[in-house]
């Protein structure tokens, strides 16, 4: 058996042992997301415009992550809409930043890797880079949104709050998750870029070379955008939840 299949089996068994029914759900969510991303890559390889892929696949991934991640329908519905709103805002910003940062495609450090390939593949690398960056932020946004919505639902069960008080509660919950969320993303960057940092150091890159570097720029922008998404999700989730609550009251 290959290493990947053994590790996947261990992951599945652990999920089932710890989560029982939840475990199945979580594993299924992971597999569906995997398949969705592959479909996304395949569609782009068939030259479907990345923007369309983003809208279809991105929304689906968000839905799968959120609806398999939690059972409370009130929480998941709020999370889904809030994440979608943040995603739209964030996408606009990522498009703008990537256009100016020119971090798409491959850099000089990767020339060995792409040597022998035909790089003129006729798909806009800027669009690919932008879509990839948005995909990579989906998980963090969804996770934070579920956390904030779950916390707020709990607050709601105990008391009635005005919009202002509600926002304050939202930020209070945000404050509890922000440190650890930043750590998740930040250590993720440390891990994925460790070899690159050692490369910079061993090849004696100067500070000006490092700060202007294309790959580091891409990794940093990706981290900052995901984190910005998490920061935005706090007030947005709060407002969406409040809005849904008012709607419900009006209907009654």
């Amino acid at each position: 058996m290959s290493t990947i299949s053994v590790l996947s089996t261990i992951l599945l068994i652990l999920m089932l042992l710890i989560g029982h029914k939840h475990g199945w759900q979580a594993f299924l969510g992971l597999v569906i997301n995997f398949v969705l991303l592959f479909i996304g890559i395949a569609l782009m390889a068939f030259q479907i415009p990345p923007v369309i892929v983003l809208i279809v696949v991105g929304t689906s991934i968000l839905a799968v992550t959120i609806f398999t991640g939690n059972d409370d329908l009130a929480v998941t519905t709020t999370s889904f809409w809030s994440s979608l709103i943040v995603l739209v805002i964030l996408s606009g910003l990522i498009v703008l930043v990537n256009y100016h940062a020119m971090i798409q495609g491959f850099s000089n450090e990767q020339s060995d890797e792409v040597a022998g390939f035909s790089v003129q593949i006729g798909i806009s690398f800027l669009q690919i880079a932008t879509v990839s960056m948005i995909f990579s932020s989906l998980g963090a946004i969804a996770e934070a949104s579920i956390a904030v919505a779950t916390g707020l639902e709990e607050v709601l069960e105990h008391q009635q709050l005005s919009t202002t008080q509600f926002l304050l509660s939202g930020f209070h919950i945000g404050q509890q998750i922000i440190g650890t969320t930043l750590n998740t993303l930040f250590f993720g960057l440390f891990g994925s870029s460790l070899a690159l940092f050692i490369w910079f150091s061993q090849l004696n890159y100067s500070l000006e070379q490092i700060i202007n570097n294309q790959i580091l720029g891409q990794a940093l922008i990706e981290l900052l955008m995901s984190f910005l998404g998490v920061l935005l999700i706090v007030p947005v989730t709060t407002l969406v939840l409040k809005h849904r609550q008012l709607d419900k009251q009006n209907q009654q």
């Binding site: 992951l11 991640g69 790089v119």
Partner: protein, 372 residues
């Protein structure tokens, strides 16, 4: 809303951040004099040649030659004009289309018969990156206040330790990367948790659970790699490896999963402490069960965070492979195999941390049944 505004905004901090932002903007807009390489501002670009490209895989693209007139901003030839040639493809895979107003970093300029010539190193990105960092930091400290400052402080301290870690790695010629990474992971966790939780028993328990979970997952990973003989894992595909790839890969895995594991351990521990404060007579078994329940709810989203980041980062390269007529299997094993192993090990870490943290918390806080 006005009330909310009054409560949220802290004017001294806002003014401080705006001042810092202005200073950074001015500095990064005028810092060419500190650059060793020549920096030039593009004044005009003209297209000199335009050519359609076809390759053997039926990809069509366009190759465009661009003539760039730029003004040099620093060094010996300051304020001189220079003409640069730039070739790019329309898809901009390994080349860039530059336009008016952008700042370029150039290779050292040579002068031949009164004409200056050089070639382009790349775009000057420092201003954009700096301002983006500033923007996110500002939003962080304004919206999250104390928690935001602490998170920021943690990142700064840990970045310092990362730099030290890399320097030490180089001093030891990359031979002890595993030891260094483990030590760094311990320091990173200690710094982050101290800032979030302060020095307390709770912090210590979370620390032990985080490090234990990470360690266990790496052990599982290494054992599986050994038992399966690395089947299907191509360590030579590790990006930018300048030293032994296998230890480097494991070091990356340790650091990469640390944050998510810490996130989860803190969440579970926080809930257990809350339960204890509500019911001081809660038993170990009850606490353990509650811990598992919290973990169960967050494990899916957390593992998804890591998986999505890893796959998203491989999209560009995968598309290149696929558009060059490679099979899916080959594309997967060349680009995603290592990341997949890494994410699976992280996922296993996230899962193992759930019972581990619940155990630590239950042991620390719960009453043993026979005591009752």
């Amino acid at each position: 809303m006005m009330n909310a505004l009054k409560k949220f905004s802290h004017w001294p901090v806002t003014i401080l951040m705006l001042a810092i932002g202005t200073a950074l903007l001015i500095f990064t807009s005028t810092n060419e004099r500190y650059y060793r390489n020549p920096v030039a501002k593009i004044e005009q670009t003209t297209i000199t040649q335009h050519q359609s490209l076809h390759d053997e895989f039926n990809n069509t693209d366009q190759q465009i030659q661009q003539k760039i007139r730029a003004r040099i901003l620093n060094g010996r030839y300051k304020n001189h004009q220079i003409i640069l040639n730039n070739a790019y493809t329309k898809s901009q895979g390994m080349s860039h289309r530059y336009s008016r107003g952008q700042l370029l970093i150039l290779n050292p300029i040579t002068q031949q018969q009164g004409r200056l010539s050089s070639s382009i190193v790349g775009l000057k990105r420092d201003r954009l990156i700096t301002m983006l960092l500033w923007l996110v930091m500002t939003i962080l400290v304004l919206s999250m206040q104390r928690a935001g400052w602490l998170a920021l402080l943690g990142v700064l301290i840990n970045t310092g330790f990362l730099i030290i870690m890399i320097k030490v790695n180089n001093l030891l010629n990359g031979n002890q990367i595993l030891l260094i990474a483990s030590l760094a992971a311990t320091i990173f966790t200690l710094v982050s948790l101290t800032l979030i939780l302060g020095t307390s028993k709770k912090m210590l328990a979370t620390l032990i659970a985080t490090l234990g979970g990470t360690l266990l997952s790496v052990i599982v990973g290494v054992v599986v790699l050994k038992v399966t003989n690395n089947k299907g894992v191509l360590f030579e595909t590790l990006d930018y490896a300048t030293q032994q790839p296998i230890p480097l890969f494991i070091a990356e895995t340790i650091l990469g999963s640390l944050g998510a594991v810490m996130d989860e351990a803190s969440d579970i521990m926080a809930t257990l402490y809350e339960l204890k404060s509500v019911d001081s007579k809660i038993t170990q078994a009850q606490l353990f069960k509650s811990g598992i329940k919290v973990g169960e709810a967050i494990m899916g989203p957390l593992i998804n965070v890591l998986f999505l980041i890893f796959i998203a980062d491989t999209i560009t390269m995968s598309l290149l492979y696929l558009r060059n007529g490679n099979s899916w299997g080959y594309t997967f094993s060349m680009n995603m195999g290592l990341g997949m192993v890494q994410s699976l090990i992280s996922g296993i870490g996230i899962l193992l941390t759930i019972p581990l943290t619940s155990c630590c918390g239950a042991y620390l806080l719960g009453q043993r049944r026979d005591n009752q």
